[in-house]
């Protein structure tokens, strides 16, 4: 459109110049050429002005976008630490569960083999192939076996509770991984923003879209929750370390 207008204008000027030349009006030709040069210069300056403004804006936004610097400097290393902690936690949970399985297998297999021995002795007694002395011994062994079943059975129950509790890792690591996913998303958005800025085509629609992508009415950090404590971080003293700490804090509040 603009180009079309420019073309029209140049065409009119060229016709006017050629008319002046035909009429031998050299002064008029000079004036028209000057005017033509002026149009050209004005356009150049305007374009230069636009470029300068854009560059200035881009530099300003770039400097303001400290989010990316913050992400690279603190949050990415922090995410690495979190993910390492996830590995440690899942490893511990797996070992804890495996240990329970090993112990439980041992406990049940000793009960199974002992009950097999006693059952064959019991069936000899039932078919009256057992002396009184032997029976007395068997009766004693059965007493011992019942006590053993009771004791090992309750050990198995405790072990199973232990295995149950070990599965809590899924919740804790899940919360940590969710935070890292949010961070990755944050990095992605910042990078897209950076590409947009350096692409120098900063239109009103784009910045509007970027504003809309921000979540409305964020909850404050305390209410939203910040997930599990990651050991060995600098803000460690903001956290309680175990249930005893919680109980002490609550009782100091009069609980």
């Amino acid at each position: 459109m603009e180009q079309e207008q420019r073309k029209q204008r140049y065409l009119e000027m060229a016709q006017a110049i050629s008319e002046r030349i035909g009429a031998g009006d050299m002064e008029g030709v000079e004036r028209l050429v000057d005017e033509l040069t002026h149009i050209r210069e004005t356009e150049l300056f305007r374009e230069l002005g636009r470029l300068t403004r854009e560059l200035h804006e881009s530099l300003k936004t770039f400097r303001l976008d400290s989010r990316l610097a913050e992400l690279t400097e603190h949050e990415i290393p922090d995410a690495r630490e979190r993910l390492n902690y996830v590995i440690t936690m899942t490893e511990q949970a797996a070992h804890r569960t495996l240990a329970v399985i090993e112990d439980t297998m041992e406990l049940t297999s000793s009960l199974v083999s002992r009950s097999g021995e006693l059952r064959s002795a019991w069936s000899r007694f039932r078919s009256r192939q057992m002396s009184v002395d032997e029976f007395r011994q068997l009766s004693h062994q059965l007493d011992e076996f019942f006590a053993q079943v009771e004791q090992q059975g309750s050990q198995v129950q405790d072990k199973l509770t232990e295995a149950l509790m070990a599965q809590g890792y899924q919740d804790l690591t899940g919360q940590i991984i969710r935070k890292v996913i949010r961070l990755v998303q944050d990095v992605e958005e910042s990078l897209i923003e950076l590409v947009r800025i350096s692409g120098s085509r900063k239109t009103a629609e784009n910045s509007e879209a970027a504003d809309n992508s921000k979540e409305p009415a964020q909850k404050d950090e305390v209410t939203a929750g910040s997930g599990p404590r990651i050991p060995g971080r600098s803000n460690d003293d903001e956290y309680v370390h175990d249930q005893d700490d919680v109980d002490a804090l609550l009782s100091s509040l009069g609980f």
């Binding site: 509770t161 149950l164 509790m165 599965q167 809590g168 890792y169 899924q170 919740d171 804790l172 899940g174 919360q175 909850k219 305390v222 209410t223 939203a224 929750g225 910040s226 997930g227 599990p228 404590r229 903001e238 956290y239 309680v240 370390h241 175990d242 249930q243 919680v246 804090l249 609550l250 509040l253 609980f255």
Partner: protein
Amino acid sequence: MDLDKNMKILIVDDFSTMRRIIKNLLRELGFTNTYEADDGTTALPMLKKGGFDFLITDWNMPGMTGIELLRAVRADPDLATLPVLMVTAEAKREQIIAAAQAGVNGYIVKPFTANTLKEKIERIFERVRAGD
């Protein structure tokens, strides 16, 4: 002490594994009348329908968080006295203080033990009874 093993308990946590763990622990302790919800938004209407004797909730959940649920429960005249136990990974001192101020009856940090859960439940109902 004898607790009412038939009491109706609501377990609120966004992780189904944790709900299952708590449900199993409660069953070991003899409580079988348990219900589940995955965040405050689903839990609150269940509570409002009535009949619940005890609420166990996580803190960090999408939608309505545990602390918001606790505040909503305390603000509702029908639910205001419902005993609430928080079982959460949120371990900031200011959060525990916030929960206490909002009127929580007990606070357990994850990871926790079966015994801690038992102790806290007993303690909560001891106090509830003493307050009667």
